[in-house]
C-alpha cells in the first residue's frame, strides 16, 4: 500500500501519530481513523499500517453512506416508537451535550423567534406565544444516546408534520435542516420529519422546556438517536440538499435511525 506521508528518518511515525492523537481534543478529532489504524487491534495483528488513514476513512464513510440508504429502507413511517407510563420517566432526566450544563445557551424567550426558510410558502418567523397556541401532542418515549445509555422522558409540543403543513412546506423536499443557538445543527430526512411522533417540542414533563433540555424549542424524534434531536432551535429550513450537522460532519452516521 502506498503511504502519502513519510516520517523523517529516525522518527517512529506510529509514535508520532499516537502522541498527536492524545493532543487532539476529543470532539474535534478529525483524523480519528489514522489514529485508529496505528494503535488499533488490526495493526497489532499485522504489524503494519495496512492502508493509508485517508483511504480507510473514505472507505468507512462510503459504507456509512450505504448504511444511510439501508436505514431509510428499514424506516417504516407508520411504526411508532414504544410509549411508556409516566412512572417510567427518568428523574432527573440527564442533561447531555458536548459542553457542560453551565455553558448551555441562555435564551430570552421574549426576543426569541423561530426562523422558517427554504422550500416553504410562509416564511414568517414564529414567536413563542404563537407556538404555544398551537394544538399540543404528548409522548413518553425512550431517548437513546449514541453513547449507549438511554432514558425515558416526557415531551409535549406541536406535531412537526402539522407544523410543516401549516407553514406550507413542500413535503416532497428531501431534508429539513435545524440550526441551534449555540451553533449546533443537524439535518433529517423528510420521512422522519413527517413521522407522527416527530415533535416540535415546547415542554418537558408538561412544564415549559427548561434550559437544560433545550429552551425554548427542541425537536424530539424517538425514531432517531439523541444527537439528531436538536435543542435551542432557532431556525428550520426545508431543502433538497443535505445541510450536514455538528456530529455528522465529524463521523457519526447521518441517518442514525432507531
Amino acid at each position: 500500500m502506498s503511504r502519502q506521508r513519510k516520517s523523517p528518518p529516525g522518527v517512529d511515525g506510529k509514535l508520532l501519530i499516537k502522541d498527536a492523537a492524545k493532543l487532539m481534543p476529543a470532539p474535534s478529532r478529525r483524523l480519528f481513523l489514522r489514529g485508529a489504524l496505528s494503535v488499533g487491534a488490526l495493526t497489532m495483528l499485522t504489524g503494519c499500517d495496512i492502508i493509508d488513514g485517508d483511504t480507510a476513512e473514505n472507505a468507512l464513510r462510503v459504507v456509512s453512506d450505504f448504511n444511510d440508504g439501508v436505514q431509510a429502507f428499514l424506516f417504516n413511517p407508520n411504526r411508532l416508537a414504544p410509549e411508556y407510563p409516566e412512572s417510567a420517566i427518568k428523574r432527573p432526566f440527564p442533561f447531555n451535550a458536548y459542553y457542560s450544563e453551565d455553558d448551555a445557551p441562555e435564551i430570552d424567550g421574549d426576543k426569541w423567534q423561530l426562523e422558517i426558510g427554504g422550500r416553504v410558502e410562509n416564511k414568517k418567523s414564529w414567536t413563542l406565544p404563537e407556538l404555544y397556541a398551537l394544538d399540543e401532542v404528548s409522548q413518553v418515549t425512550r431517548h437513546i444516546c449514541v453513547e449507549g445509555w438511554s432514558a425515558i422522558g416526557s415531551w409535549q409540543g406541536v406535531r412537526l408534520s402539522d407544523f410543516l403543513k401549516r407553514v406550507g412546506a413542500d413535503l416532497t423536499s428531501k431534508y429539513v435542516w435545524f440550526q441551534c443557538a449555540e451553533g449546533y445543527s443537524t439535518t433529517i430526512d423528510m420521512p422522519t420529519a413527517l413521522h407522527p411522533q416527530t415533535q416540535l417540542t415546547l415542554k418537558f414533563d408538561h412544564r415549559i422546556l427548561p434550559r437544560a433540555y433545550g429552551y425554548p424549542v427542541k425537536i424530539r424524534m424517538p425514531t432517531k438517536l439523541g444527537f439528531k434531536n436538536p435543542k435551542y432551535v432557532t431556525a428550520m429550513w426545508v431543502q433538497n440538499n443535505d445541510g450536514g450537522g455538528y456530529w455528522e460532519n465529524q463521523g457519526y452516521n447521518w441517518f442514525s435511525g432507531l
Partner: protein, 212 residues
Amino acid sequence: MTIEAAVGPPLAPDAAAKPPVIHPVWVRLNHWINALAMLMMIGSGWQIYNASPLFGFTFPREIALGNWLGGALLWHFAAMWLLVVNGIIYVALGLATGRFRRKLLPLYPRDVLHDLAAALRGRLAHDDLSSYNAVQKLLYLGILLTAVVIVLSGLSIWKPVQFQGLTSFFGGFDTARYVHFAAMAAIVAFLVVHVTLSILVPKSLRAMIVGR
C-alpha cells in the same frame, strides 16, 4: 454434498501420497474472513462500550479499534456487513453440503463428559482431524448459537424501534446491551480456548490454512 466433493475428493487414488482434504477451500475462506470480521467487531465494540460502560471498567484504548466513539461506530457498522454476509454464506454451505450434520452431530452428553475428562487428563487423541470429539462438537455448536444471539441482540440495539419485537424479546433496549456484551464475552472466551488449542495442536492450524 456436491461442493465439498468437488473441492476435495476424500479418497483419491493417490490418497496415500496426499492426505485427504479436511477443510475445503470455502470453509477456510469463511473461517479467515470471519476471523478478520470478528476482530474488527470486537475491537470496535470495546471502544463503543467505553462511551457508556455497563460495568466498572473500560477497555484500554490500545487494544480497541476506532480511536473514539464515532470512529468505532463506523468500523462496527462496516465490519457488520462482512460478518453477516460471510456468516450467511457459511451457514448456507454448512447446511447444503451436510458439513454441519456430518461434523457436529450426533452429540450425546455422555460423550461430552467422557471426552472432557480425557481432555483434562491430556489423553484426547487428535490423530484424525477430520472427526471432531464431543467437546469440540459442543463448543462449535455453542459458538454457532452464540453467533445467532450476538447478531440478533445487536440488531435489537441498532433498531429498537423498527425491530421493537426483537428488542422486547431481549428484555428491552438496556437489557439487550447486556446480552450483546455477554455474547461478546462468550466469544472471546471461546477464542482464547480455540487459539490456545490450535497452537497446542499445530497440524489443526495447518489444516485450516492449507486444507490438509
